[in-house]
Symmetry: C2
Subunit: 436 residues, 2 copies
């Protein structure tokens, strides 16, 4: 573990909150980083949209480059840190060039790793450099390192979690305040917790990016973003009334990304709002916190909770990656060599057995419950709890059921039947109920 | 990341549940281990108390050695895995010899690492071999790797957690069933969850071992077990009545090990039963589960939860260490070189400001509360909640108070004053109230 003499030289592209956070850590914790790695780290060059913008950190001692891709050509740079973001464009060009030029790369770019990760990993292997992306999943939580090192001896059976802080903040606020989605989203935007275009967050796409990466690492399969996106739904459909009813039944509502491998090696992936019992670990993860849950064949259950976004936590993950490279970490990009990454046997997550929450609006007239009960019993669907209540004086009657464990296929038949009933006005929500 | 041709050869000393678990993982997940490290792992020799004992795994293909220390002399062994346990004796002799002979060492031995870790780390550095001990703290939870890698960029301010599964099982059972300590301990012993001599667990010594290791890693200081033991108290004094009252106030009781570094770099360590609010992360960690909580200057709060003991989880941690060594991990034993480990400036943990729970037994006669109130107000102690109740028909009256944040010094003056009051029969419990 001999101390190396030359500093490890990095170039940073993108000086938003995370980029500034990385610079702040390296400036503040320089001694600690050198002690823990046996080597000093030195920022040699930076690039961003505007050189003259006011920033929280002093960048005057670093070489400025207007075009980020030029960073990859600087001869004394060991590692390029990509914090621009976006699936394609400058970020992708920069990272591709950096790897081709034999530079290590650290990135926080979930969209790029989910979409282009396999190709980039092949390039990194070919050039024998590192490509690390801890900050791409769950911010400050070291979820990637937990999979690649802490739980490395396990065959992973399931990985799931609360992976998007914006959605978790909105859902937590809806639960606490009883307000509706649009109202809370607007407030989150005003406070800077949600983007002015919130699509990536609230429609579950950001969670899908992260789940895609976790699946590849957990199961040793090629990342396949399109497969996740097929079974991704966001939180726009979650109503204040759903929260009220879930609360009565003892549940919270969380947006979860989940991937499960069955005994036949088939993998089901899904992003969807789910009901989580209040006594479960995940239920107490509120606000901007994220949680990642792992289930391994020997370790059983492990849960990591921490801040899923923000300058400090995300920069903490970026610098941890830099330090692992400084210490000579030679782990494969997705935990195994790319030639060992399998083509996954995906199965339709919607067909997984689970417990369900079903919320119907029905007409307020005699015989409705008899019709519903008949539809359920015809298909052998077993109901755990049932609430029939007039939540809005002038509105329809709500009927809410939670089921025992059932095949989604049977449930779909029941939902078809319910839709066809004259007295059923609408099927308002169908959510999975998740243990843990 | 080139695949190496020769298998990585290990010898295992100690074939109890964890040793058998390690063999089971290596036999079952051999392909996965080779894919993830680029190298096969091979068990070449084993040693334990009795060669003929019936075991759950087939050890017939491994060389048997009666005296574990002989494993360190086998020329083809790359790594010795020590699973015997105990601060001194064979375990310590084995590990010392193995390091001197230039073998990597993986151990689950918290007592040995806490007591002799510094000297052993110096030996490992001198011989340029690894000494890894993930399984020594919190079983399957990768707490050590989280500190050394995931949170490496942070100056750690606090580390604490539920670190002993036996105590957590007993406390969880007491809380659920309303039964007393002795009763639940006996049941835990009958079920095999507690040792026939439970001293190390229930008196907090095992937690102290683990906290000592976490402190060294978190703050870059020399491990100092005696310092922790000075402020260690166990769970024998926690009564069924305390659980009943804590429940009324919205708290659970957990045995916590905690270490905190203040802005002056002084460190306070403590092992003690504490009150944790039911809505906190740690409160939902029940039974044999452990939880470790980290607070870093950039990452903020991170919590890891998982199984703290058992064959599978502990063996998962042991094999993860073996795999890190196979991948060429050269991290320093305590996160920094031993010459960089500081002599800690310990401060008395009991002097830390906190909220407190105080449970008194008082005589059932007029004027008692007036006397107590006067004692409190004299020393400016501010009370948050107060319960006065006759829990036992023929017994004394219980007076329970929770305080606002207060210096332990002021509290001690109040406790002295209360003790001196004629109407106060006993001070039954004083527990800290912990957030998170």
């Amino acid at each position: 573990v001999a101390s190396m003499q030359t500093p490890f030289k990095i170039a940073i592209a993108g000086l938003g909150t995370v980029g500034q956070g990385v610079i702040e850590i390296i400036q503040k914790n320089a001694v600690l980083i050198e002690r823990r790695t046996g080597r000093a780290v030195e920022i040699v060059a930076v690039s961003s949209f505007s050189a003259s913008k006011k920033r929280s950190v002093d960048i005057s001692k670093y070489q400025w480059v207007d075009n980020a891709v030029e960073l990859t050509g600087l001869p004394d740079v060991d590692c390029v840190v990509e914090l621009i973001g976006g699936e394609d464009g400058v970020a992708h060009e920069l990272v591709s060039h950096a790897l081709e030029n034999g530079k290590h790369v650290v990135t926080a770019n979930k969209a790029m790793v989910a979409r282009h990760g396999l190709k980039l990993a092949q390039n990194a292997e070919f050039r024998q450099v590192a490509l690390k992306y801890e900050a791409a999943v769950a911010g400050g939580i070291p979820a990637i390192k937990t999979l690649m090192h802490g739980l490395a001896a396990n065959n992973i059976r399931s990985v799931f979690g609360i992976l998007n802080g914006t959605c978790n903040y909105i859902l937590s606020e809806m639960g606490l305040s009883g307000r509706g989605f649009d109202d809370v989203l607007k407030e989150a935007q005003d406070k800077g917790y949600a983007e002015s275009d919130p699509t990536f967050d609230v429609d579950g796409i950001d969670t899908a990016h992260k789940l895609c990466i976790l699946s590849a690492l957990s199961f040793g399969v090629k990342p396949d973003l399109d497969n996740v996106l097929e079974t991704t739904s966001g939180i726009r459909g979650v109503s204040a009334l759903d929260f009220k009813i879930a609360e009565e039944l003892g549940y919270k509502i969380k947006l979860l990304g989940s991937a499960h491998q069955n005994d036949a090696g088939e993998i089901a992936q899904m992003v969807a709002p789910c009901l989580v019992h209040k006594s479960a670990q995940l239920a107490s993860v509120d606000g901007s916190f994220n949680a990642v849950f792992f289930d391994g064949d020997f370790v059983d259950q492990v849960v990591n909770v921490g801040r899923g976004a923000g300058a400090g936590p995300t920069a903490s993950a970026v610098v941890a990656d830099i330090m692992d490279i400084m210490r000579g970490d030679e782990s494969a990009v997705f935990g195994v060599e790319t030639r060992d990454l399998q083509d996954a046997k995906w199965i339709d997550a919607s067909q997984n057995d689970d417990r369900f929450y079903i919320h119907l609006s029905v007409e307020d007239k005699p015989g409705v419950m008899a019709n519903i009960s008949s539809a359920l019993s015809t298909h052998g669907l077993s109901i755990d709890e049932l609430i029939q209540r007039h939540y809005h004086v002038d509105g329809p009657v709500s009927v809410v059921m939670t089921t025992h464990k059932t095949a989604r296929g049977s449930l779909d038949l029941v939902l078809e039947k319910l839709k066809s009933l004259e007295s059923v006005i609408s099927i308002d929500s169908v959510f999975r109920i998740i243990k843990f």
